[in-house]
Symmetry: C2
Subunit: 205 residues, 2 copies
């Protein structure tokens, strides 16, 4: 027999999420931004994080691009690797939420099943799925990294929306239409959601 997970004991962290939330005076959660490349996910995430900071709310951005340079640099873009990419990010988000932070995750995360997998890691209310909706035409016009152009000329393969699927969210907590409003309006829409749902001050569970 080899050492296995049954023989490991879960060390209950002695400072609970609730106590950390109480200290921070807000509730921790994950805000999961999903949508096409160039739909505005990272811009919204970083602007929201700046707003949080200005209000002394503890937050952090997990970003598809920067996580891929570190934790997930061993993974590619096949469906299997995309799944593992999302699984690991979900687990990291779980640690961040347990640590008391409002965790803003900005990932294309094109598969419904993968987003559902992450949702299932969290208690109800701790996972907020935000569909960052933008037509592929507008994304392709923006194309800040020239990736759509490369996908169209087949220089990039397995590109979401062009040569790989994007499965639209069926029941997201929020839809943000970035082809109809500015980044600032989108961020305000998110803040309004958090405010009206009681995340921005501590609520006893």
């Amino acid at each position: 027999m080899s050492l296995n997970h049954q023989q490991l004991f879960w060390h209950q962290a002695q400072v609970s999420k609730e106590r950390r939330n109480n200290l921070n005076d807000h509730n921790s959660c994950v805000i999961w931004l999903t949508g096409l490349s160039a739909s505005g996910k990272s811009s919204i995430a970083n602007q929201l994080d700046k707003y949080m900071y200005s209000r002394e709310i503890r937050s952090y951005v997990l970003d598809g691009d920067n996580v891929r340079h570190g934790l997930n640099k061993d993974l590619g873009f096949s469906p299997q690797d995309r799944k593992e990419n999302i699984r690991r990010i979900g687990e990291v988000a779980r640690l961040f939420v347990d640590a008391g932070l409002i965790t803003i995750a900005a990932f294309i995360s094109p598969y419904r099943e993968d987003r559902q997998m992450v949702r299932s890691m969290f208690p109800a209310g701790d996972f907020i799925e935000v569909y960052v909706k933008c037509s592929i035409d507008v994304c392709e016009q923006r194309d800040p990294k020239g990736l759509y152009k490369m996908a169209r000329t087949n220089q990039v393969k397995e590109f979401t929306g062009i040569s790989a699927p994007y499965e639209v969210s069926e029941k997201p907590e929020l839809v943000i239409e970035t082809d109809k409003q500015t980044i600032e309006e989108s961020v305000m829409q998110l803040i309004d959601y958090l405010q009206t749902h009681g995340y921005l001050s501590y609520q006893e569970p």
Copy 2:
């Protein structure tokens, strides 16, 4: 050509580690506790975390046992899997330190090279290696999980100190001898280190 990492752009988080440290009024870092099973790493980690909480310092424990139930549940105990286990934890710790938290990592992490790999992820001063020193005899007497007994009877294979190596830290920032002092004394020794080295109040970089 497939989408690769060169085509990804590093989204510089717009709120820097320094600004988060300033808000929290302490410096973030990783305290990396390494040592044999039952040497006291998790106990020290959790007691230290409780102390931090009592001082309103933002901290979090990453623990070998609980990370293995989530992020690293796909990994076993071979040298290769132990290396990947430590690499991922190092990357997660990097995110936590960037987010402004004093991150307490409690892992056997038996290989010098793996600990060096994690150290190299951080700027000088952000990685504090703590060798939790305890004779194998004392660890084996404690044996809270019965794992040494199982290792001795070969029911558990690749067990550090018995059937797998532990490479002692050569230049740790701190050595804590848990077979010569109580957990409370060990925690106080760590707090003293953090205090005298300026981590517990914000120091401009």
